[in-house]
């Protein structure tokens, strides 16, 4: 098995009266175990402006109810630009330029795709999906 860790550090000297400093590390395990995940996919795409939401990462039956994790970062540098992140056709939130997210993704059904939309301008988006396997499309 592989050992993959993800660490977050949240810090601010002036958001609160006292300094904020928080750090947490997780090892990416398969669901309900201490066995490390062994598969991942990654990519970089330029999401075209406007239009309908596009599928960034396709949910598959093999990922159903597993302990997948997905990282997505908006690499645009214009502060007014953002991408809308949706799942199952439902908006979760917005990633503004430079923002990133790291979330669990259980793929409750094959419609639970990670979708992205860039309302204003084209945005470059990078992503990594750590998973326990996926269903491949037939050739």
């Amino acid at each position: 098995m592989a050992t993959t860790t993800a660490t977050i550090t949240l810090s601010s000297a002036d958001l609160l009266t006292d300094s904020l400093s928080l750090s947490a590390t997780q090892t990416l395990y398969k669901a309900g175990t201490t066995t490390g995940v062994e598969e991942y996919d990654m990519g970089r795409v330029v999401v075209p402006a406007g239009g309908s939401p596009l599928i960034l990462v396709d949910a598959t039956a093999a990922g159903n109810d597993k302990a997948g994790k997905i990282y997505v970062a908006n690499k645009n540098t214009d502060e007014t630009n953002y991408v809308i992140i949706s799942m199952n056709d439902t908006v979760i939130g917005r990633l503004y330029s430079g923002d990133w997210m790291f979330i669990p993704w259980s793929q409750v059904d094959v419609s639970a795709d990670i979708e992205v939309k860039a309302p204003n301008e084209a945005n470059a988006v990078e992503w990594v999906f750590f998973h326990e396997g996926k269903t491949f499309s037939a050739a």
């Binding site: 958001l15 994790k69 790291f102 259980s106």
Partner: protein, 134 residues
């Protein structure tokens, strides 16, 4: 304005043949500008009594379609224990023991009721959370 930074580092020496190392930082700003966020929902720690669904964050209390971020961490050390996380009634995923997440949150209340809900797999589990109000 405040300067608040979130950094993620993902690394592995054996997931691939070559080493994996990814790190990026984001400064939390308000929606559509470079002004640092000035509000937080505070760092909270919640012990759930049973396995029913709890509303962790009420979308109606926050501005719709802004740049909010939610930090979650499951404090359990038992591998099988998880929190199922839902946003707007959609299951996002299961946060297993020791897992954390940083989730963008629209807090939308016009199109959907975008509350953040959690359902623990077992009784008496502990979740730490923080809302950064964008």
């Amino acid at each position: 304005m405040a300067t608040t930074t979130a950094t993620i580092t993902i690394s592995s020496t054996d997931l691939l043949t070559d080493e994996l190392s990814l790190s990026t930082s984001a400064a939390f700003t308000a929606a559509g500008n470079s002004t640092g966020i000035v509000a937080t929902g505070g760092l909270g720690r919640k012990t759930t009594g049973n396995t029913t669904e709890y509303t962790l964050l009420d979308a109606s209390l926050y501005t719709d379609d802004a740049a909010h971020k939610v930090y979650l961490k499951n404090m359990s050390v038992t591998p099988a224990q998880y929190f199922e996380v839902q946003i707007a009634g959609v299951v996002v995923g299961k946060l297993y023991a020791g897992d954390w997440a940083l989730i963008p949150w629209s807090a939308d209340t016009t199109g959907t009721n975008c509350d953040v809900d959690i359902t623990p797999s077992h009784a008496n589990m502990v979740l730490e959370y923080m809302l950064f109000v964008g």
